[in-house]
């Protein structure tokens, strides 16, 4: 017999030219959009998070750019810790430039209407500040009136808090000021600053008469300059340069101020970016999970299509088109939702932002969101959809036919791109490849950890299987490792969801706990500072008169560093290599040091020792330095420092490094000298006490301000409540945005449990057919998903503690803090939700007659 062989000629059409696949995508899709709900929900929540964060950031940047000059009120500002040098003022003064000055300091004011007092930021102004933007006051002429003499203006919130009216007066130092009005808006000052330190404005000429500026008073002087051009600003900045090193002046122009504000919000933005990244990754998992379910449901239909002549790619394209189109729609909806959220954020905490955010749409964020969503829907659906290409047509004859695994280039390309995606997405979100890489490594480690735990669990369950337990218990347990089980995939997906949600919670609670003062009952809550030496004893007596404890009375000496490790500070600043390592501010700042021979309760020595000074024996001076600052100055035990103490050089060696809990029982210090070295140096004193009774506190403050006008008092309770209020609002926004990640996580969880539905459905139907009662099937289901939920929660949360610690320590650089109650709530929620969704999916099997379900299955 002659064997003949004819080669077939088949024209494979590309997706855009194959009309049939588009037709089929529409015909099939219109009945299946409900089935793709999980897919669209994952995309919407994931993209909404990303767009909301990006849009907020872009809007903020735009506003900063738009109002740049108003942020400063001038073209440049020079700051100094002491009055400006006359020679400098002459040098910078030209005929064309305009100048204004202010001096600000912390001071007590007494409101004469109620005789209550509080610490404020006293700002004394001179000249026509601001040169850009307006001072908005009520009444409108208040600013002009203030400049005429003994008139003061208050921040609006302060006036409201102390019920101050235009008829009232306030006492600042030794002088009474009449009220000129209230300040609604002041260039350069944000509401955030006003909340933490509300301001009182007077004229600079009136400051001297208050008697507040004494030895040791910490006054910041600012010189505002309006230049004639950008070139002139550069010339002025050059003029200032020599004075930076010589007199410690600092200068900001508009660009620098913008940059500083941007950096200030950098940490918040990074956290928000992380939230967006988490929402995005969860969205990706949701997409992959829901498309996996969808592709599985479509297996039989694909087999029929393959039978009647569809190629693998044609079958793939039908569902790919559906996912692609829905992906664009879902991304667009996500972008719309994100924009809506972005409009809500400023309402919640807009007044704490450095600029007033206008209602606006960031089209860049929208475009990024839609593009990102489309990429995600394509990338993360390809892997599950590739399986469609390899559905064997034989499945139409044998439903349980399982083909061998086929090598697919598309599958491998998708796997590689999927691994790259989190790195690129995180790098884009956090604007750093390193951070992006670290996030992704963390994610891969988490996935690996979850997979290992899942394998270990299955091994343990098999090895120690409770043979003598009840049928229900044994059956539920054996479901975990029987053929076609979904245990590993469920543990990994649900565990990952729990991991991400818990990690987010740990970071959030660590950030929010940063500012909480968790003192014990005896800890100081009221600090009196700027006490002159001659006032010290009488102030202490006053404290005792009101039956208040005197927790601390410590001397403070102001000084600067002139040498570090034998090298003059000037040389550090001039050597590029070194200046990179030691920041300029650490070398030039004014240090407020104290002396004592013991540790304070907030301190412990972590390296070296305390070394007291033996007077008269020509002993060396040994100081201790706080942890953290030794890294900044790059010094260690045994290194030498030379302090310039009001013109007198004092050489000292570092004898130890102290760990300081800064919020605990203030004041705390960077450098502590031993007794006997600085005792005779010019010094001021700080006293700390604890006030419990509010009425007592008011009377004590009144008498203090009345008799010692220069002494200021910080009420930590007031600061704590203000900070708490601020963080409550910021926390609300954080939780609101985290909610999106959590919702996406829940969508993923639902998808993961739905995934296992197919495996369980048939078994439960058979059990029911052979006589299992509703209660038994329900218990089997609950126990099985209960196991999965418990182990997922334990694994996810265990890993999240590790990840949270790493992130808080190395990324956010804040103290690690875990709220165990919240973690417990997350665990219970994950378990309950897993069980609930598992049970919900089995209801169909439980509530319908076996025959009906069997027919449906066949």
């Amino acid at each position: 017999m002659i064997e003949y062989f004819i080669r077939i000629k088949r024209n494979a059409k590309p997706i855009f030219r194959d009309r049939w696949v588009w037709q089929m995508a529409w015909r099939d899709g219109k009945h299946n959009f409900g089935r793709l709900f999980l897919f669209v929900a994952s995309l919407i929540t994931g993209i909404a998070g990303v767009v909301a964060i990006s849009s907020l950031n872009y809007s903020m940047q735009n506003e900063l750019d738009r109002n740049a000059k108003e942020l400063l009120g001038a073209d440049l500002v020079v700051n100094s810790g002491r009055p400006f040098d006359t020679a400098f003022l002459k040098k910078i003064d030209t005929a064309q430039r305009q100048f204004a000055q202010d001096a600000d300091m912390a001071s007590m004011v007494m409101f004469m209407n109620t005789r209550q007092s509080r610490l404020v930021k006293l700002t004394a102004l001179q000249g026509d500040f601001p040169f850009y933007g307006d001072v908005v006051t009520q009444p409108a002429n208040a600013y002009a009136l203030m400049k005429t003499g003994r008139y003061a203006m208050l921040d609006e919130a302060l006036a409201r808090q102390y019920n101050v009216s235009s008829e009232d007066s306030i006492k600042i130092g030794n002088i009474h000021f009449k009220m000129a009005g209230v300040v609604e808006k002041f260039p350069g000052g944000g509401a955030l600053t006003a909340t933490l330190a509300p301001a009182v404005y007077i004229s600079l000429d009136a400051l001297d008469s208050t008697g507040l500026v004494q030895f040791g008073s910490r006054v910041n002087y600012s010189l505002f300059v309006k230049t004639v051009s950008d070139e002139d600003t550069k010339v002025a900045m050059e003029t200032i340069k020599p004075y930076r090193d010589e007199l410690g002046y600092s200068a900001d122009d508009v660009d620098e101020r913008k940059e500083e504000l941007g950096e200030g919000f950098g940490s918040v933005y990074r956290f928000f970016s992380l939230l967006a990244f988490v929402a995005l990754i969860l969205g990706c998992i949701g997409v992959a999970s829901s498309v996996h379910i969808y592709a599985r449901e479509k297996r039989d239909e694909v087999a029929v299509l393959r039978c009647i002549g569809s190629s693998g790619w044609q079958a793939f394209n039908i569902y790919f088109i559906q996912i692609f189109v829905l992906g664009i729609i879902g991304s667009a909806l996500g972008a719309v939702l994100g924009i809506a959220i972005q409009q809500v954020v400023p309402i919640a905490f807009g007044k704490y932002l450095p600029v007033e955010l206008q209602f606006g749409i960031s089209w860049r964020a929208v475009a990024e969101g839609v593009l990102l969503g489309t990429i995600i829907s394509i990338l993360f659906s390809i892997l599950p959809l590739v399986a469609v290409r390899f559905v064997p047509p034989l499945s139409v004859l044998r439903a349980d036919f399982q083909p061998g695994r086929v090598f697919s280039k598309t599958r491998w390309a998708a796997v590689i791109l999927i691994f790259l995606f989190p790195v690129l997405a995180a790098a884009y979100q956090t604007e750093s490849f390193l951070t992006g890489g670290l996030f992704s490594i963390g994610l891969i480690l988490a996935l690996g950890g979850l997979a290992l735990v899942a394998m270990g669990l299955l091994y343990i369950v098999r090895k120690y299987f409770p043979q003598n337990s009840s049928f229900v218990f044994r059956h539920a347990l054996s479901n975990l490792f029987r053929p076609n089980n979904q245990t590993q995939i469920l543990l990994v997906t649900i565990g990952l969801g729990a991991f991400i949600i818990a990690t987010l919670n740990i970071i959030q609670s660590s950030l929010l706990n940063q500012v909480e003062f968790k003192g014990n009952a005896n800890q100081s809550n009221t600090i009196l500072f700027d006490i002159q030496s001659h006032q010290k004893d009488s102030v202490v007596k006053l404290i005792e008169k009101y039956d208040l404890p005197v927790n601390q009375v410590v001397p403070i000496i102001t000084c600067r560093l002139s040498e570090v490790k034998g090298k003059p500070v000037d040389q550090f600043k001039r050597t590029d290599a070194d200046s990179v390592r030691v920041p300029n501010w650490a070398l030039t700042r004014e240090y407020r040091v104290t002396y004592r021979d013991s540790l304070h309760l907030s301190e412990e020595i972590i390296k070296g020792e305390l070394h007291s000074f033996k007077k008269g024996k020509r002993d060396s001076v040994f100081v201790t330095i706080s942890e953290g600052m030794h890294e900044t100055l790059r010094v260690g035990v045994g290194d030498s420092l030379v302090f310039d103490i009001q013109g007198v050089p004092v050489k000292a060696f570092i004898s130890g490094i102290r760990k300081v809990e800064w919020p605990k029982d203030p004041p705390n210090f960077i450098f502590v000298f031993p007794k006997g070295v600085l005792d005779d140096a010019p010094q001021i004193w700080v006293a700390a006490t604890r006030v419990e009774n509010q009425q007592n506190a008011i009377l004590f403050q009144q008498e203090l301000v009345f008799n010692y006008a220069n002494v200021s008092l910080i009420d930590l309770r007031l600061i704590l409540s203000t900070v708490d209020e601020l963080f409550d609002k910021v926390g609300l926004v954080v939780r609101f945005l985290a909610l999106f990640s959590i919702i996406t996580g829940l969508v993923v969880l639902a998808g993961a449990v739905l995934n296992s539905k197919f495996a369980r459905m048939k078994e439960n139907v058979l059990l029911r057919t052979i006589g299992a009662r509703t209660g038994q099937i329900t218990r089997i289901t609950i126990i099985e998903y209960g196991y999965v939920g418990i182990f997922s929660a334990i694994t996810g949360l265990g890993l999240s503690v590790g990840a949270g610690w790493l992130l808080t320590k190395f990324f956010f650089e804040v103290q690690f803090s875990v709220d165990m109650l919240e973690l417990l709530i997350i665990s219970v929620s994950v378990i309950a939700l897993t069980v609930f969704i598992g049970w919900w999916n089995s209801r169909e099997v439980i509530s319908t007659p076996p025959l009906q379900v069997l027919r449906k299955e066949s």
Binding site: I8, R27, N32, E301, A303, R306, S310, Q314, V396
Partner: protein, 230 residues
């Protein structure tokens, strides 16, 4: 002499698993002439459905060859075999295998649309009218009875005027009345279209309506009866 449309030569199918190799089809050979009808019968597990799958190019043999319309199926990849099925083969299955999200009319149109043909609705409607479903064009499979679903499946199978029609227990899921109607329709259309019919069934009565019966047992072809000469 009529053309040979299908030639099976020493077909063997082995399913390999970790524990053992299961031989479900063992060295089966036969050929089929154009326009004839043939029934493959045998008890459950005898390998008849596997044989049908191999002959229709739904799977490939472990050894041996299938030649369909001169094309050697084992030399072709899956997509080429799919193309071949679309060009020359029709299917009728026991559980109908209609696409649940498509209407009856759309189900019938699909094979021609796959070829890239346009305006195929009128041909599909004609066929549906022919199988007695003139009132069911826009019904979905779930809205049709078993007999109606099988008639839609037959219309879908015949719309491409296939050279070979494979039917796997076409009356297996139907009551007697519907089974009778479907059987009559199947043979009538087969005659009119001059299609080669290869039928797998347990039903001897149905098998005896064909011209030739192949009997399978334990994966082997054990008997062949010629009932009528073409």
């Amino acid at each position: 002499m009529p053309e040979i449309v299908l030639q099976a030569n020493a077909l063997t199918k082995v399913y390999k698993s970790a524990e053992r190799n299961l031989v479900v089809l063992d060295n089966v050979s036969f050929d089929v002439q154009q326009g004839t009808s043939i029934a493959i019968i045998g008890p459950s597990g005898s390998g008849k459905t596997t044989l049908l799958g191999l002959c229709a190019g739904l799977d490939v043999a472990s050894s041996g060859h299938v030649s369909l319309m001169g094309f050697k199926l084992d030399k072709m990849n899956e997509d080429d075999r799919a193309y071949l099925r679309n060009q020359y083969i029709g299917f009728v299955f026991q559980n109908f295998q209609l696409l649940p999200t498509l209407t009856a009319l759309e189900n019938v149109m699909v094979p021609l649309e796959l070829r890239g043909e346009r305006n195929v609705a009128s041909k599909a409607k004609d066929l549906l009218v022919r199988v007695g479903l003139a009132e069911r064009f826009s019904h979905y499979p779930t809205q049709l009875s078993g007999g109606e679903q099988q008639r839609v499946a037959m219309a879908r199978a015949f719309i491409t005027s296939p050279r070979v029609l494979f039917a796997d227990e076409p009356t297996g899921n139907l009551d007697d009345e519907n089974a009778k109607q479907v059987t009559e329709l199947l043979f009538e259309m087969n005659r009119q279209e001059n299609t080669t019919l290869i039928l797998v069934t347990h039903n001897l009565e149905l098998a005896e309506k064909t011209q030739r019966i192949l009997q399978m047992k334990g994966g082997k072809l054990v008997n062949e009866r010629i009932l009528a000469v073409l």
